[in-house]
Subunit: 271 residues, 2 copies
């Protein structure tokens, strides 16, 4: 692998490039991005040069698509004509079914493996990129790929291989539901104008996601609406069950079961 | 103020004692607690001696009630007979209406000011106590008290004075609702056995509270059920509204409003 093209040099794309370098990649990294993103990325030494998509794809042995979901879908519409035959394409989109379906439909001259690093932070953009962003975090791939797995393992990420369909069901619970809950909680607390006077760590932890920008989420909701709706139904039923148990002994068992589920998440996070 | 009695020398009671010392209090600190708690507190130098409630109350100029709510209610039933006339009693219970009502009913020879430090951490017990636990956090008092306010201000806490009734409405939103949400989310994620494979920071942040022990919450639910039920109704309505807006442009405004509410919480937290 001599040349990598990063399409969308923001937090994730920029961090992928930095992680490649930190793991010893000595080839060329080309950025395909907006003029502002390209400038920030070149200043920080994240990319070696910037090119239009067609020119970057023509040289690249690995193409990393790190735009928002709609941007990835639109690049997939055009990319097949530009690629070197047999090149490897992967992405970092937050939902996988729509993207993998589009790739199956449109990409014929290259190999496509869907990807989703479960990493991020509140701030965005290439200026916030860091080589260690993926360390210790799950990195989902929708099919095995020895080449890609070796690279990602070198970042310290934990590789998880599962179908696009299963991925989208699970992240509806672990990522999209938390976002909607945080948004609804912040809005609920906002109905009490004096609430900020008493807000402690719990309110802070649970409303942090509510500050996420909508533009990231629009595409996620558009491409995973059915799974999110199902996860919301499970959650609201659980909450109504707790509400009905507020004043009886049943609630103790609910707390114990939920605590066990929360601990299980953590054991699996740090195996 | 020469002698302070701490009734319940756990995380909060122990931290109150350590914060007093750190702020220069040179008098005697007496602990009233279980044998295990007393041993841990004496080993760490948190209290000078341990006494039964009646003997401690007879000496104390300030009595700090830091048991769980039911424990505070039960101490208030007995305490009036033991106190030095005119002594100051305060508490650290998580709900205030039931406790302040009990104090009004039972305490006649001393002054009572309800209190609630919005501080804590996952671990419990005197072994976890720290002098800085209250620093930068809201500390609610149900009525003004120059003496108590001066002490609490010396811990670096942010004093907030509000009625017991308003306190209980607001913490239903900022503390009790987050707890139930976290419990329901952990239980929901627990319905998907493979979810831990993809759980990222969002799932971790929002399920942390789900590991809280039920025994702390039982008394909170028992003494604030009406307000919690009302807060749950507001939250579920907000969440259903988001669900119905998942695929339309209205959702952008909901995200903006919730983000503004979340930012307001933070500005008020760090004034």
């Amino acid at each position: 692998m001599k040349t990598v093209a990063i399409v969308g040099v923001g937090l994730i794309g920029g961090s992928f490039a930095l992680a490649l370098r930190a793991a010893g990649f000595a080839g060329k990294i080309i950025g395909v991005s907006s003029p502002d993103a390209v400038r920030a990325a070149i200043e920080r030494g994240i990319i070696d040069e910037a090119l239009p998509l067609a020119d970057a794809a023509a040289q690249a042995d690995l193409i990393y698509l790190a735009r928002p979901i709609e941007g990835i879908l639109s690049v997939l519409d055009d990319l097949d004509a530009y690629v070197k035959p047999g090149t490897l394409i992967t992405d970092a989109g937050s939902t996988k079914e729509a993207i993998c379906a589009r790739a199956t439909e449109k990409i014929h001259r290259a190999r496509f493996v869907g990807g989703h690093p479960m990493a991020g932070k509140e701030a965005r953009g290439a200026a916030e990129a860091e080589a260690s962003l993926f360390r210790g975090r799950p990195y989902i791939l929708t099919s095995p790929s020895a080449e890609l797995e070796a690279r990602i393992a070198s970042f310290g990420a934990r590789i998880v291989i599962m179908s696009a369909e299963q991925h989208d069901v699970l992240v509806a619970f672990t990522s999209h539901l938390p976002q909607l809950i945080s948004t609804a909680l912040a809005a609920s607390i906002g109905t009490e104008p004096e609430a900020a006077r008493v807000a402690g760590p719990a309110a802070m932890d649970l409303t942090r996601l509510a500050m996420s920008p909508y533009e990231i989420w629009r595409d996620i909701f558009a491409t995973n609406a059915t799974n999110i709706d199902a996860a919301l139904s499970v959650f609201i039923a659980k909450l109504e069950h707790l509400r009905s148990a507020l004043s009886n002994a049943q609630l103790e068992r609910e707390f114990e079961n939920a605590a066990a589920a929360a601990r299980l998440l953590r054991n699996m996070e740090n195996p």
